[in-house]
Symmetry: C2
Subunit: 337 residues, 2 copies
């Protein structure tokens, strides 16, 4: 264990896409646990699209990070020492540890993990916030029925890939968009999507959607927004449901983008569109985790992780994720599992 | 009773706002009732914004009218003669009679009206489709709670004026936008709106909304779309509900308009947006009509009608309504009530 803690702080507010120079790598002394607190050594740090909004000064769903403050983030860790009787050295835990190697936290902020149940990293993916986001955002918001067509944007992302697989479990036709040929192959060959296309290279999004969704779109799970969403909303079926999870295509724009006005389509199709945050479902997390763990155990959910090594790799990994370089869940490994 | 029927047919598909020359006034012989049919003499014809969409060749919620065909429309009428034992000469009825003075219809397409209950014309307004649209579109889609702020665009229209009053009955703060100073005075002084502004003359829609809705907007009922909707969606409260009834500002555009992308706001606010058609509530019409009639009887709902005289006035009255000249419900009187 290092006796010096290393962490990443916010150096400057990004203009457009973040740059590595918007972050600082800071060395600081080993934190001294307060009475009742728990010292943990991080194993994996989760990188998530919403963190980009936290780098702005403006209010959003993610609290604005102060310049010079540590970047907040969820991670899995092992307890090093604990002044809280509920935790012992060696316990595996998940919590908000920030972009750093060591963290001092209160026990009430931690959830213990069972290492026999699933690999540690899944607590940040399929059995964590991405899994719960896909689960409630698809099933609770949209309630897809067998035979319906479900379209997913950002389908190869941590959330999107799970949305598509859960929709397949429900018996739906599943169509996805993603940004590379490798991702499209993965969606079609590994995850069982019925159709998928590379939104960066197809000339005509609408035409591609007509081919993939010959009966129209009953459910749309949107993590991307922008042009793909404009196109999807022209092809809704009557009584369609749209779950809006994020708008990744808009988060790094230097000027707000204008787009199609499509509210007339929602009227004609009597369609519902719902923005949601997974935090709105906190009381139902145990229900979601139990179902996701069951599917994982039955081999019905596959997942993919992109893992970089060392806290110093976090800024570049984060930027790469915002640009869509990763497959599935983006993690930074900070110590041995 | 005229022995010659006069009707309005579609002469040409409008480009942008309709012109009078897009319609023809046609004289035709008295229709001969088929066996089992009912001959009616129209008293009032209802003019409705969705009729504009029916003038286009493209599919929408309103069937496309063929060139040369009669303009469809709802009206109230008296039965002249009936070969259906359920109807007698002199009965007051509501149904789809089209833009014409006389019509031959089947009895199953008619609903009898009680002349003692409310004036005949209310069957086309507060106790008709506009009333039901306001009732279900506000209460079922948005479920406003006492103390919440409800914003209505097109607030002086047939539907909007009822939405605002129903929201007041529910104990909400009600704010509206409309397009003339006379309409604003009517909303504030007659209908009891808490705030209202002329969207055509205020420089800063967002600033005006902040003044009218100091606690943000919990419920938005949209009949207009475009710039006012862009501005409203920036000021939603958490868990806001948006009911999209129509997009009148977009119906007469010659080129599709681009606008703000605001889906990020729906995510952050966990807001729901629902497009709806009143036809989706047909099973619940009796419930809605009973409640609306009760409120009308108790003096809790006021309405306003703009009435022009004679079938030949229908095209100009329709164009005026699309341009927002009318207050409240636009009717054409075709014979004596």
């Amino acid at each position: 264990m290092a006796t010096i803690n290393r962490k990443i702080t916010l150096a400057a507010r990004p203009v457009g896409f973040p740059k590595v120079s918007d972050f600082d790598l800071v060395y600081s002394p080993l934190p001294l646990p307060a009475a009742g607190a728990v010292l943990v050594r991080s194993v994996y740090l989760s990188l998530d699209p919403h963190m980009r909004r936290g780098m702005n000064a403006a209010e959003s769903d993610t609290p604005s990070v102060a310049i010079g403050a540590i970047m907040p983030g969820r991670g899995v860790a092992f307890v090093v020492s604990s002044d809280d009787p509920a935790f012992q050295a060696g316990d595996a835990v998940v919590g908000m540890f920030g972009w750093q190697e060591l963290a001092v936290v209160q026990g009430r902020q931690l959830r213990k993990l069972d290492l026999h149940l699933a690999p540690l990293s899944t607590a940040l993916g399929v059995l964590g916030m991405p899994g719960l986001t896909a689960f409630f955002g698809l099933l609770d918001v949209c309630n897809p029925r067998p035979g319906e067509t479900v379209m997913v944007s950002g389908a190869a992302g941590a959330v999107g890939a799970l949305v598509g697989q859960i929709a397949k479990i429900r018996g739906c036709r599943v169509v996805g968009s993603a940004g590379s040929e490798a991702k499209i192959s993965w969606l079609l060959d590994e995850l069982g999507f019925d159709a998928a296309f590379n939104y960066k290279t197809v000339g005509d999004l609408g035409g591609e959607l007509e081919v993939g969704c010959p009966d129209g779109i009953d459910v749309y799970f949107d993590t991307v927004g922008g042009a793909i969403t404009d196109a999807v909303l022209q092809q809704l079926q009557a009584k369609a449901r749209v779950s809006v999870c994020g708008q990744a295509s808009q988060d790094n724009l230097m000027e707000p983008e204008k787009g199609l006005r499509w509210l007339d389509q929602l009227v004609i199709k009597q369609a519902k569109l719902q923005g949601f945050l997974v935090s709105g479902y906190v009381e139902r997390f145990p229900e979601g985790l139990a179902q996701l763990a069951g599917w994982l155990d039955q081999g019905k959910l596959k997942y993919w992780e992109s893992i970089t090594q060392g806290i110093e790799s976090a800024p570049q990994a984060f930027i790469g994720m915002l640009r869509g370089i990763n497959h599935g869940k983006q993690l930074v490994q900070l110590s041995d599992p």
